[in-house]
Symmetry: C2
DNA sequence: TGGTAAGCCTACTGGCGAGTAGGTAAGGCG
DNA sequence: CGCCTTACCTACTCGCCAGTAGGCTTACCA
């Protein structure tokens, strides 16, 4: 406890609006992630943010608006983190691998964000559900496109759109679920967990129990390799 | 709606306790699945059930107790449905396949149950979260055991417990997510969706894009078609 | 046929929490 | 130094909803 801010003595220090808004958002993500949308109260958020309730309303609007803003911000941060980790030129399996690594890396370093996005947002009936479902839908579409593209690398009759989309939904769900599991079993590093999921979805149990595993092309340098990964 | 119960004229017909409790539970699952725990009100549940609020409290206790009871009932129904579909003597891949078919079959025919279990229960901080997490944990353990057992079929160094558990978590999550996707895209029969997930987790994308697919051993005489339509 | 218990109800309380009214200090600027 | 704008506060209102008090009615049985 800092002595310089004794015990929040009635009045907070004067700060420019932008800074306060940031503080409030951080507090909101924290509280929402711990308690969920309904159980979280504006009183508690304002307390954590170190300001009073009317400021919340003055700056961020209603509780629903605040929540939606949180979701948008955290979802955007996550999508950007993943996009930053993936190179569009790489072969599909490497792209998937990079995406998974980036995803688990983000979750590991932003647990509160993840809780808000995954647990809370998806279960509310309000406009946020739409907000979040939209983000999630984009992620699924992205993965689906990757899958379709990956079958273009072969001479196999391309996967149907519906099929690709459903597989992508399964993959995204597997990632979410594994991320939750990981939060309860945090002793393993992000890379190991990501690799495990990569092996599952790329090789399948059938190959795994036979001893075949996927591994990234040993040259990290992105020479135009086939990257058919083991096989 | 049945015309024989005009507009609930003040007083409901007298019924034995067991019957009423069933009606109430059904109504509760319905309302909880549509609105979520917090947004659902005891008033609405009692209205849907066709009785008055004090009956709720007299028969099923508090809102939290009611919710927990719903979760327990629906979770049990689902676990039993899946257990009924699986033969312990069959090889691991067939067991997994049977389990997936049973799971998607159940979800298709009990959408409200599924909503309550998956969406609502997991996001509340109360004792239900524990209730549900427990069920889910058991499902994961079951799958994990299946995986470990399946590597016993080979001469590969058996998978570590943690590894099996995390893969099981991913698989369960994939199933959940795919079930959700399916509810939004219900045109395909349960068997097709189940087969798709089976292929994903058993063969992996790597094999799928190469044109290899998993299929149930057709030697089994019991109408071993894979894409069975399920009503 | 009258007693009694089980099933059912209307109509309230009490608290919590979203949102607001209206006032106080602090910095900037002439 | 006074004025105004902006940041900030205390202290309310008001609706919603979990939970309850207390009374009515129907079925069954002696």
């Amino acid at each position: 406890m800092h002595a310089e801010q004794p015990v929040r003595p009635g009045r907070a220090k004067r700060l420019p609006r932008a800074v306060r808004e940031r503080q409030i958002m951080d507090a909101a993500v924290d509280v929402f992630s711990r308690l969920g949308f309904h159980a979280a109260s504006m009183d508690e958020i304002s307390e954590v943010a170190g300001i009073s309730k009317p400021m919340l309303y003055a700056y961020l609007g209603s509780k629903e608006e605040l929540f939606a803003t949180c979701i948008r911000r955290e979802a955007t941060r996550m999508m950007e983190a993943i996009a930053d980790g993936v190179e569009a030129e790489e072969p599909p399996d490497v792209q998937l691998w990079s995406g998974l690594r980036a995803f688990f890396g983000f979750v590991g370093e932003n647990r509160a964000s993840w809780q808000v996005l995954h647990r809370q947002a998806s279960s509310q009936g309000g406009p946020f559900a739409a907000e979040l479902a939209d983000m999630r839908g984009r992620a699924i579409s992205l993965v689906a496109a990757l899958l379709v593209h990956s079958s273009d690398f072969t001479n196999v009759p391309r996967a149907g759109a519906k099929e690709a989309e459903s597989l992508a939904a399964a993959l995204v769900g597997a990632g979410e679920s594994l991320a939750d599991w990981w939060l309860d079993n945090p002793e393993e590093p992000a890379g190991v967990v990501a690799a495990r999921l990569m092996n599952l979805v790329w090789m399948g149990f059938g190959d795994l129990v036979a001893g075949d595993v996927w591994h990234p092309p040993s040259r990290r340098a992105d020479r135009g390799r086939e990257g058919d990964g083991t096989a």
